[in-house]
Structure formats: structure tokens, C-alpha cells
């Protein structure tokens, strides 16, 4: 057995163990912390499968942002979870459904898939030169399947609309509350003063390098969102009201810019979301820049949650 195989087997066993721990945890908070560790280990697994783009996204979104969302949810329902457990039949049905989905997925990927597995990787690589991009994953996201990417960003905005809609009528358009009421600790303020400049450079690098290397708008946006959330939690800046026109524009700017480029493609390159010859890379980077900002704003707003206070006059 080679050391690489031993490492992979240990990693797979660890992922399974953490997954079991997440399900078996009695408290919501422990389950969420296990889930974050699970996401980080899963991103290591993606690295081993030589999918660094997926690994970065899994670490930033799967473990980072989703973890934060779940931590917030667990903190909110913390006092209420002492209630009665759901009926046994319901738990059994949920478990059975999960087992069915998992075995169905395992059957399709492990048993039914022909050997070698069908792949579009060679044609994707063959056309890469025409896009001017160096990273085939970015080419898939913004050239071959650009419509999927555009709609994905629209879904993100819709998700934020759903969260904002949870605000009661009297605070509609108000300000979301982030973190506890107590004044922030001096250490947290220090972190919020020193880390964001570094984080912003890393976020911009992440988006910029995405054209040719692993990275991109989603990963860069997630880091940018994290930096903003640190500043907000340390109360160095106020969360803008959800009715703030600038915030709403920031959330919409990326998808709108991407859609505008798409419609321009109709006039200039004969198809929706097609790029004029030779202009593919600059247009993609422009769209990604807008999307990075919008993703950052949307993710941060998702974590901050619905408005809980009336907007300041």
C-alpha cells in the first residue's frame, strides 16, 4: 500500500467519522461545529481528487459561510431545543429517505457508471485557447455554461430576498443585528482593524487569479464577506439598513452586469451570453469583478439575517 493510498483511506474514514458525529450530536451547536470540521475535511478530499477549485469553494462556502449561517441558527434556537423529540416514525422516515438517496448516488457513481467514466474534459480543454483563459473551470462557468452561472447568482439574490422577508412589518427595511448586544472585546476590535486589509488583498487575488488558476468570484467574494462580517461584529462599522439603496445596488450589480454582458452578446456575437471574438477574457473578468462584490454583499447580508430594528432616521 502506497502512502498516498493510506492517506486517502484515512481521510475517507475521518470524513465518515465526522459525518456520523454530526448526525449523532445531541446539541445543535456541537452538530454545527462538527459540520464545519466535516466541510474542511471534505475540501481536503477535493484537493486529493485534484479539484482545487471545488476544494476552495467547499472550504469557503460549505464550511465557512454555511457554518456561520448554521452557528447563527443554532444560537437563535438554542433555548428552544429542549422541546420533545420528533415522533419516531418521522425520524425513521427521514433516515430511510437519506439512506435511499445516498445508496442511489453510490449506485449511479460506483456501479452503473461505465469504465472509463464519460467525460467532457478533453473538448473543454480543446476549446480553452479560444477563450483566452487558463483555468478550464472558469471557462466552464463563464463560457460553456454561462447561463447556469448567471441563474445561480440570481438564485443567491432570491435567497437573500427570502431571508429579508422574514422581518416583521414594523421593521421592514430596517437594520439586521449581528453578534451579541455586549460591547465587542478589545481583541476582536484589534483583529477587525488588522485583518481586513490583508483579507481584501487575498480576496482580490483570489478573484483575479481565477482566470488562469484555481480561484474565482465565489471564493474571493466569500473572503470579502468574511472581512466585512469581522468589521461589523467588532462594531467598527454599522450594518446598512436593508432598505439602503447602495446596499441593494451592490447586491444586484454583479448579476445585472453579467446579464447586460449577456444581452450585449446578442447584438455583438449573435447569441445570448456569447462574447465577441478576442474580448472573452476581459469581459469575463469584468463580470467576475462585479460578481465578487455582489457575492460578498449577499453572503454577508445572508449571515446578518433579517432586519430586527427600525432603520435609523
Amino acid at each position: 500500500m502506497t502512502s498516498a493510498l493510506a492517506f486517502d483511506l484515512a481521510l475517507a474514514a475521518l470524513v465518515l467519522a465526522i459525518a456520523t458525529l454530526t448526525i449523532a450530536a445531541r446539541e445543535a451547536m456541537s452538530a454545527v461545529i462538527s459540520f464545519i470540521a466535516y466541510g474542511l475535511l471534505l475540501s481536503l478530499a477535493w484537493v486529493r481528487l485534484r479539484a482545487p477549485d471545488v476544494a476552495l469553494t467547499e472550504a469557503a462556502i460549505g464550511a465557512g459561510v454555511t457554518g456561520l449561517l448554521l452557528l447563527g441558527a443554532a444560537a437563535t434556537i438554542g433555548d428552544r431545543q429542549a422541546g420533545a423529540a420528533p415522533p419516531l416514525a418521522l425520524m425513521l422516515a427521514a433516515g430511510l429517505a437519506c439512506a435511499l438517496v445516498a445508496s442511489g448516488l453510490a449506485a449511479t457513481t460506483l456501479v452503473l457508471l461505465p469504465e472509463p467514466a464519460p467525460t467532457l474534459a478533453p473538448p473543454a480543454m480543446a476549446s480553452l485557447a479560444t477563450t483566452g483563459l487558463g483555468n478550464p473551470v472558469t471557462a466552464v462557468l463563464f463560457v460553456y455554461r454561462a447561463l447556469d452561472t448567471l441563474l445561480e447568482k440570481v438564485v443567491l439574490v432570491l435567497a437573500l430576498l427570502g431571508v429579508w422577508s422574514l422581518a416583521p412589518d414594523r421593521v421592514w427595511g430596517g437594520v439586521a443585528r449581528l453578534g451579541p448586544d455586549a460591547p465587542p472585546r478589545a481583541m476582536l476590535v484589534f483583529l477587525a482593524q488588522l485583518l481586513p486589509p490583508v483579507g481584501m488583498v487575498i480576496a482580490i487575488y483570489m478573484f483575479w487569479t481565477g482566470a488562469d488558476h484555481p480561484g474565482g468570484a465565489f471564493q474571493g467574494g466569500a473572503i470579502l464577506a468574511a472581512m466585512w462580517l469581522i468589521v461589523l461584529t467588532a462594531r467598527l462599522a454599522d450594518m446598512p439598513a436593508t432598505s439602503h439603496p447602495g446596499l441593494r445596488l451592490l447586491v444586484l450589480a454583479g448579476p445585472m452586469l453579467f446579464a447586460a454582458i449577456g444581452f450585449a452578446g446578442w447584438a455583438l456575437a449573435d447569441a445570448f451570453l456569447a462574447y465577441p471574438e478576442g474580448y472573452a477574457k476581459p469581459l469575463i473578468i469584468l463580470a467576475e469583478a462585479g460578481l465578487t462584490l455582489s457575492i460578498a454583499a449577499t453572503l454577508a447580508c445572508l449571515v446578518a439575517g433579517p432586519a430586527t430594528r427600525t432603520p435609523p432616521p
Binding site: 472585546r185 481583541m187 476582536l188 484589534f190 483583529l191 488588522l194 485583518l195 490583508v198
Partner: protein, 93 residues
């Protein structure tokens, strides 16, 4: 020469791994939050520092080396502050 460089890597990365192992054992075995944090920071600071030190001779370019050092500094910085925050929170409980 290359043998000497490889030796530096093996020694430093092994030493770093020992810090991680010791830190993990401490995290599991120590009785309360400050002790566990004490164990954890050794793994983060020294363990990762030694691993980065061991990997430095293996990188191809100066930019890659700088990235590795940046990763270590970022972990040092955030680790030190988050440790303080956890310790302060656990004391006020």
C-alpha cells in the same frame, strides 16, 4: 546538497508533526479550557511554523515561499486572537 536539503525538510516537518500530535493529545486530555488552548496554540504556532520551515527549501519560486510564510503569519495572528477571545469567554461563564 539535495540530500542535505531533503534532510532539513524531513527533520523540520517531522518535528512540526510531533507538535501537532502533542497538541492534539493535550486538547483531548487537558482538564479545562485555558489548558486546552495552551496545548492547541503550540500545535498552531510551532507545529505549523516548523512544517512551513521544512517546506520552504522545496518550493520553486520566491513567490511560493512568501505565500507559505504568509499562511503561517496569518494563522499565527488569527490563532493568537481567537485563543484570547475563547479564553476570555470561558472565564466570564
Amino acid at each position: 546538497m539535495s540530500t542535505a536539503i531533503a534532510l532539513v525538510t524531513v527533520v523540520a516537518v517531522s518535528a512540526g508533526s510531533i507538535f501537532f500530535l502533542a497538541g492534539t493529545i493535550g486538547l483531548i486530555r487537558f482538564p479545562d479550557a485555558p489548558c486546552r488552548l495552551h496545548a492547541l496554540t503550540k500545535a498552531d504556532n510551532l507545529g505549523l511554523g516548523l512544517i512551513v520551515l521544512g517546506l520552504l527549501p522545496q518550493v520553486g519560486t520566491l513567490a511560493e515561499a512568501l505565500k507559505l510564510v504568509c499562511i503561517w503569519l496569518l494563522v499565527l495572528f488569527s490563532g493568537a486572537i481567537v485563543t484570547q477571545l475563547i479564553a476570555a469567554t470561558s472565564r466570564h461563564k
